[in-house]
């Protein structure tokens, strides 16, 4: 067996799996989004009709789509900066020369990342309980009246954001910590000798060198947060007053509660387009800032 034959043999199983169960479905999704595939078509393909851009027009006219889009943008717009800020703060603390038991702390802060979303969402639903929850208990100690976290449409999304920050900050923390450790100590030392205080060292030495890592982290987090689904599914079922229906939650309900599979696929494509545009813009901003 020569090298070329071996190469194909070695790659074939993986390529077949990825081709059949990823690329084919993605291409099929585009076709599906142009049809009225529903429960009737599921029973008999003869009922399938081509509707052109009909699904996209329907979705763009549905008030719930815009509601879900607004909710998702709220989650991404507030959740991503808060998550990254928490990650950066934790990474800076761990990177400090004065920090002790670094390994232990890193493991503890990272633990929420590897947990199962559904299981920890169940815990947080209890922590956020209006009457018996620990969070309202602590707020009461500080003299703050109980908040109906998951029952008040103004607080439901902040509650989910709080949960997401807790669950995810450790991931970016590890990436940013690695980037911080790559910053040469001599650079900061030189700035210090030049009379820069800790804050100035951070702003003018550390932060610029951290830019590529921050951009990477921002892109990963934005793309991930746009795919919000399990949290509202478990914690709120999209309620109260549909304040936590995300785009994917809307897609899931259209597809697997109402079996409007054509329409649900159109929603998935709209979400994909949105993620592409937003991450492109981020890359642009990141690059432009880099030369400034």
């Amino acid at each position: 067996m020569n090298e070329r034959r071996a190469a194909w043999l070695f790659t074939l199983p993986a390529l077949v799996v990825i081709g059949l169960f990823f690329f084919v479905p993605v291409l099929a999704a585009f076709v599906l989004s142009l049809t009225d595939f529903d429960l009737y078509a599921l029973a008999d393909l003869g009922n399938l009709r081509f509707v052109g851009l009909g699904n996209y027009i329907d979705v763009l006219r549905a008030p719930l789509f815009w509601k879900s889009l607004g909710n998702t943008l709220y989650f991404v717009g507030v959740g991503v900066p808060l998550s990254i800020a928490a990650s950066l703060g934790a990474a800076l603390l761990l990177d400090s020369r004065l920090a002790r038991w670094k390994g232990v702390f890193r493991t503890a802060l990272f633990a929420p990342v590897v947990t199962t979303v559904v299981a920890v969402a169940v815990i947080w639903r209890y922590l956020l309980h209006t009457r018996y929850g620990l969070i309202n208990y602590l707020l009461a100690k500080a003299g703050i009246a109980p908040i109906d976290w998951l029952g008040d449409p103004h607080w439901s999304m902040p509650a989910i954001i709080l949960f997401a920050v807790w669950k995810n900050f450790g991931y970016n923390m590890v990436i940013l910590l690695a980037a911080l450790q790559a910053v040469p100590a001599e650079l900061r030392e030189a700035a210090r000798i030049d009379g820069a205080n800790a804050l100035q060292q951070f702003r003018h030495v550390t932060l610029p060198l951290l830019r590529p890592a921050l951009l990477l982290v921002a892109i990963i987090t934005v793309a991930g947060y746009f795919q919000l689904f399990a949290e509202p599914y478990v914690m709120t079922r999209g309620d109260p007053l549909q304040s936590t229906v995300s785009v994917l939650y809307y897609m899931y309900e259209e597809g697997f509660e109402w079996w409007s599979l054509g329409r649900a696929t159109a929603i998935a494509f709209l979400l994909f387009a949105l993620i592409l545009v937003v991450t492109r813009v981020l890359v642009r901003i990141g690059k432009r800032g880099g030369y400034a």
């Binding site: 993986a14 299981a119 690695a178 994909f272």
Partner: protein
């Protein structure tokens, strides 16, 4: 004094963060041993007054959690074992075996990383239905038998294998399969552990796709069953916490034992972006 203070502040802040990160998990454990209704009192109790295993008994005897944990274990183990074989072979080939079109195929694969899995989810459901794999382990395992991320990770690592080593083996007359099995695999051992724990945890924690493809209760994995249970038993906090404990213990245990490999893999996988 002025020198000690910053160290105290930094370590205090880290300890505070560690409490925030771990407290929900510890409290879950404590509540899972409480008497029925005990958690629904004010102020929230920290420790069970009379610890009981009743919640776990109910979870396994009435809610059939044993079956769901077994489903999760089977699905995650099968996915890990087979995808490891496929990803290792492909990752090594993309790194070390020369053939025309290799770079183009690999670039196309990387392009897949830009597309969220949900885009193809509905056609994938129809394909699985057509193959008769809905409501079976196959429905979850088969689409996960290879992953672009896994191939990428192996390729990054395998590039450091010296070509001379492979050439020497070829000159000695070793076949490509023998070279892979007896020279390459031992060198890839660290990445095998990393990829195995990554795949196992991702498979165990996966939610949306199993929710879609495993509608029949008998086949549901632990997270899917727990979500269904939590939507029914909104008030039964002690039972729900026990359900979370049994779902989380396997992944947390695995992470604490193999965390170095997990974090290394995370860093290796995100360097390129």
């Amino acid at each position: 004094m002025s020198r000690r203070w910053p160290a105290f502040a930094i370590n205090g802040a880290l300890a505070g963060l560690a409490v925030v990160a771990l407290f929900p998990l510890l409290w879950m454990l404590s509540v899972s041993f409480m008497q029925h209704g005990e958690a629904s009192t004010y102020p929230p109790p920290l420790l069970p007054s009379r610890p009981t295993l009743a919640n776990y008994r109910e979870l396994f005897e009435r809610a059939g959690m044993g079956r769901h944990l077994l489903n999760s274990a089977i699905v995650a183990t099968l996915t890990t074992l087979v995808s490891l074989a496929f990803n290792l072979a492909a990752g090594y080939a993309f790194a070390k075996l020369r053939y025309a079109g290799r770079e183009r195929v690999f670039q196309a694969l990387l392009g897949a990383l830009l597309i969220p899995a949900q885009v193809g989810m509905i056609p994938l459901f129809l394909i699985m239905k057509w193959l008769g794999l809905v409501n079976s382990y196959g429905g979850v395992v088969v689409p996960a038998l290879a992953s672009v991320f896994g191939i990428y990770l192996v390729r990054q690592y395998a590039r450091s294998i010296p070509d001379d080593l492979l050439e020497a083996a070829r000159i000695d007359g070793a076949g490509e399969l023998r070279i892979f099995a007896s020279i390459v695999l031992p060198l890839l051992k660290p990445i095998v552990v990393t990829l195995a724990i990554f795949t196992f945890l991702a498979s165990w924690n996966d939610f949306m796709w199993p929710l879609i493809v495993l509608g029949d209760q008998a086949w549901q994995t632990a997270p899917v069953a727990l979500a269904a249970l939590s939507r029914e038993h909104v008030q039964d906090n002690e039972l729900m916490m026990a359900g979370s404990v049994v779902t989380l213990v396997p992944v947390l245990a695995l992470f604490f034992v193999l965390q170095r490999h997990y974090i290394e893999g995370l860093l290796l996988g995100s360097v390129k972006g």
